[in-house]
Amino acid sequence: MGWLQRLKRGSFGKFLRLVFGRNHARIGIYGPPNSGKTTLANKIVKDWAGDIVGTVSGIPHETRRVKLKRDLTVRGDGGVLDIDIVDTPGIATKIDFRDFVEGYGIDEEDSKKRAKEATEGVIEAIRWLDDMDGVILVVDSTQDPFTQVNITILGNLEARKLPLLIAANKVDLKEAAPSLIRESFPQHKVVPLSALTGYNVESFYDNLIDVFR
């Protein structure tokens, strides 16, 4: 972390915010593949700028490049927050092109290309962590949250002392168990929501302002 970022996050930054009012935060959306990161990024950007950041599909690693949307103003009960939203490719420890061939019927050449781009996307996502003021970790509420990828991301954010909000996504699905995410990560703020249907997004925005302001 650079000295400027340390100043910004430290007491000097708080002093500046008190004097000059609104804060601006660059927030990264991180998580494993298919947890709904781009759906959430699209929801945020649509709600506050009437736009979207990327396409969504059921195939893992649909987002293979970092996408940045600047200067959104989020409003909630707790005030106002100016943010940049950074949608990142899913973090994974393995990417096998055969999963795209066998699981989704993509031809071998395209699957290899997709896998290669996905590996580059993971590297890019990790490198962007240096430029973040805070992170939303998107976790699929229908899956076991206690995975190595989630643990590694959380541990890394804790080591960097970055503010964090966990979005327990996909609560519109019958098998969702957001309480399990709360139990797994009791030290962090967890907001259940459905980025797809918009369920509980108002509470999500209130928490976003509270955590990242």
């Binding site: 994974a92 393995k94 096998d96 290669k116 590996t119 993971v122 190595q148 991301i153 541990g155 080591a159």
Partner: protein, 123 residues
């Protein structure tokens, strides 16, 4: 008969290595098809660097990535234990890493963690 090699790397050896050296050691072993057990597990920052280095080496032919799991030894919270550990011991944290095409970690409970290792197929 096909075999699989398991390397247990001691805390003492790991203490002498930089993060870069640890990651090279792990990836060289895993690319040869070995399962690596670190007596002193990686920190979250090192784990992230390992993921980054792993992704740079995925080649769509022989190496698809890694399977990794970390086991935190539950801490004894008595003041004597805290003082003792803080002064003399490293936090109990093991990391197991293997080639993704051979190793699949199973759900762990606080006392045990299990993995399935497949022998067929190259690393």
């Amino acid at each position: 008969m096909e075999k699989i090699s398991i390397s247990l790397i001691s805390q003492r050896k790991l203490n002498d290595l930089t993060t870069h050296e640890k990651i090279n050691l792990i990836l060289e072993g895993v690319k040869e098809g070995k399962v690596i057990i670190l007596e002193k597990g990686l920190t979250p920052t090192e784990e992230t660097e390992l993921i980054e280095s792993t992704m740079a080496k995925v080649d769509n032919e022989t190496f698809m990535g890694i399977e990794m799991d970390t086991y935190n030894v539950p801490e004894d919270n008595s003041w004597l234990s805290k003082l003792w550990k803080r002064r003399w011991l490293n936090k109990g944290r093991w990391t197991v890493i293997g080639p993704a095409n051979r190793v699949r970690m199973l759900k762990k409970d606080p006392g045990v963690f299990e993995a399935i290792i497949t022998l067929e197929g190259g690393a």
